[in-house]
Symmetry: C2
């Protein structure tokens, strides 16, 4: 007789095949699809999300989960079963109609956002967003009731299992006590230094070539992935075929290059998830925070460090030649410039947490019903002024319309960026202790030992351990924000 676990195994393998199609069609919608394809694509993806919801929440699956608990399973199977249960419980809570409505409303909002953002059309955007918020609140309410927690915590748990707004309030509360001062100090300090903006234009094709070379340096497997262009850079696709994107600006190449380094961090995690478990929940990346720890370890800990920049510098010169602003010492300084700005994805490490805290506070209030969509712009303006000293009044495009996340109801996601930054600091510090030659290796362009350490401690484990356990195994302790502070003070003071 087939064990219940085996039946679950086959069901999740089937779900992952449909997930593959959804991932590729989703990537295509962002990177390839012409505008008139949007409506039919949304409908197709919604149909698929209803189907996978039905498969995942079938009564049998619940029964098999019960039965499998009593079967003889090894450690990995146990972990797989735990993850299966998590997915099932998260999905079984939601009625099919809500899943479909949310998928459609999200796709509509996102498609329109692409054009509305360009024309700074908050009016139009907020109409679609209201529908998304309404449905997201319904979802949050159902999840909150089932788990006996707050609406926002229920959403947060989807992206960062084990995390709560109580813990976040402590972490972010602490950040708020020292980060604004540090930011201020560093901005003042950097005012005394000379930085020259390199002279464009920077040919887009050359930027792409530079990106591909840096990806190669960072070990990206081009037989199992691609680099393309989208409005908002992301890492999509499937572990066997990882699709990363960036966006180019003729006047400035560092933003695209750093975007590529960031997404390559995500990509290497995906490309190195446990191969023999692909298709099973235990092979998934642990959480969004851990995912972001890999991209930020690549972009910030490694990518913006002097040793790495030294090793990348010749590639930059190879593409763009020696020109004003591209001498080596200026190139270093440019990549460690601290300058509060409008755009989160372009933000430096010191300003970034302020962007995230702002979004966290707004989306939490939005989900808890303390504010409405119409309140967002005013709140956004006030907090941008307060945390970063920036005026965003009337500039929706570079304000509350800059991100894709809320368009399809991804509330609860934003905090994972700063959690990722904290995990990254802790992991990189530990890797440096474990590999005494690492800084020299990096200058020489030899990242083998670092990648082995990441493979050993993070990538190969997928979702086998909880985040706390994963961090403890890798670094000897659970999340400790002191590493992040030490990193920032060490680099910028």
């Amino acid at each position: 007789m087939t064990s219940a676990y085996k039946k679950l195994h086959d069901t999740f393998a089937r779900l992952s095949r449909f997930g593959h199609l959804s991932a590729i069609a989703g990537w295509d919608a962002a990177a390839m699809m012409p505008p008139e394809g949007g409506q039919a694509r949304s409908e197709a993806l919604a149909e698929l999300s209803v189907l996978t919801h039905q498969i995942l929440t079938a009564k049998q699956v619940g029964e098999w989960l019960e039965q499998a608990g009593g079967e003889q399973l090894n450690d990995l199977e146990q972990a797989n079963l735990r993850e299966m249960r998590r997915h099932y419980q998260q999905a079984a809570l939601l009625p099919e109609s809500l899943v479909q409505a949310k998928s459609l409303a999200g796709a509509r909002c996102e498609q329109a956002w692409r054009i509305q953002r360009k024309s700074n059309d908050w009016e139009g955007f907020s109409e679609n967003l209201k529908e998304v918020v309404k449905l997201s609140r319904q979802e949050a309410q159902l999840r909150a009731e089932a788990a006996g927690i707050s609406r926002y915590d229920a959403l947060l748990d989807l992206y960062e299992p084990g995390m709560t707004s109580q813990k976040l309030d402590v972490l972010f509360g602490d950040l708020k006590t020292w980060l604004p001062d540090l930011l201020q100090t560093v901005v003042e300090k950097q005012k005394t230094e000379t930085r020259i903006a390199p002279q464009g234009p920077f040919d887009i094709e050359k930027q792409r070539q530079l990106g591909l070379k840096v990806m190669g340096k960072l070990g990206f497997n081009f037989d199992a992935g691609r680099l393309d262009v989208s409005a908002h850079p992301f890492c999509g696709g499937v572990p066997q075929d990882v699709r990363i994107t960036t966006r180019y600006n003729e006047n400035e190449f560092l933003s695209a290059m750093m975007g590529v380094i960031h997404e390559t961090g995500h990509a290497r995690y995906e490309q190195n998830l446990p191969k023999e478990w692909l298709g099973q929940p235990v092979s998934n990346a642990r959480s969004m925070g851990v995912h972001e720890s890999q991209s930020l370890l690549f972009e910030m800990q490694l990518g913006c460090s002097e040793p790495f920049l030294k090793s990348v510098y010749p590639l930059v010169i190879e593409q763009f030649g020696h020109r004003e602003g591209l001498d080596e010492s200026n190139f270093m300084k440019l990549n460690q410039r601290v300058q509060p700005g409008f755009i989160r994805v372009d933000a430096d490490e010191l300003s970034y947490p302020a962007h995230v805290i702002l979004r966290y506070e707004i989306e939490k209030a939005l989900m808890e019903g303390e504010i409405e969509v119409d309140d967002i712009p005013a709140l956004w303006n006030r907090k941008m002024k307060e945390y970063l000293g920036i005026d965003t009044v009337g500039n929706y495009r570079d304000g509350c319309m800059q991100d894709i996340h809320w368009t399809d109801g991804g509330f609860g996601y934003f905090p994972t960026y700063t959690l990722g930054a904290m995990y990254a600091a802790q992991l990189f510090r530990t890797a440096n202790k474990a590999i005494p030659t690492l800084q020299d290796d990096i200058v020489r362009g030899d990242l083998t030992a670092l990648f082995q350490w990441l493979q050993q401690n993070i990538w190969q484990h997928g979702s086998r351990f909880t985040t706390d356990q994963l961090m403890k195994n890798a670094t000897g302790e659970t999340l400790n924000p002191a590493f992040f502070r030490a990193h920032l003070e060490g680099r910028y003071l």
Copy 2:
């Protein structure tokens, strides 16, 4: 109470949403996917094909089809119901296991073919092909038994409803009586003329720009489609988002340009199928032969005609400048050159039918069990020698491994190319009679009247009429191969 017809309508709409995902993932596999993504993609597409097979062949669907026959339906609904019944009957015949096995074997064969073709590896390829042939014969056998026709005719009917090998034997038999002589005469005649091969290299990006401009001239809607690159040019995607591909060669630009014109013909048919019926079977293109009639009308009837070449010539000069072999009269001659060669997709109009007849004869014998896969190369060599005077011994790459069709079991498809050429000649002749100014319009680059005529007579009808009825409505008679002969003799003698 919901009518049975309405239930069918919703079921087919759902199937078309899954078909959308399959189309985009299929396009991606050919145009975008890196090699290591292949295995997971095949599995995902096979999973989807099993699912859609289940949905289409559910017992209820059969019952609804019975009931709907007795319901009050208008003409279009009647036509839709007829097409639904055709799809259901075709699918219900096949056991799920065969559908899945064929999808997997086809994908495996196709993926490997991409590499094997490059290395001329018939040995490796034939192993995979044997599995595909085995499963295709099983399929053909089941279909043949149910319809009381031959195995090959049962497959042919999938692509060209109403067509039989008996009719084809007459059509192709007639062709064989006059085409080889005509080909011989034209080759001799052209020997006396001077043709200069234009001097390359032709920058790939400039070739792409030329392709895009020609597509624009031909009315391609870029808000609802794209041009990309694949090993074998094709037209894929969905009517709302049509994906065409070509392939480039630095030494020669006409092949890519003509490929683009050909696929644009397919694309315009897709982009102009009846919008209000999209998602329903009646909105599909009528048949593969009618589809090919549109691409060949664009490529051969229009694209290789002097008036059209005159109007395209300035675009060619704009991209590549005046250089040897690119004076206008030589440009005309190049596009009407008759020269038997290895590659079907690059063949001129006069050689093309020979390629098709060769494949028809081989695949028919293969399906009827008269020959085996191991017999293909020898048979191929003999017929290439006989029909086109070309030696292909040992050159599998440019011989029986040149096409993608057999890799995933598309036996029965090849004849539609020459049927398309015949329909195209008949349609274009009729359009010229209906639009007395057409030849002048074309020189002036004004194709509006032609496109209106095609929209009126072909595109807007989807699958509403049978092919015979469609041709009769458009041209006053069913397929008459005399138009094709008259066209060839008129152009080349």
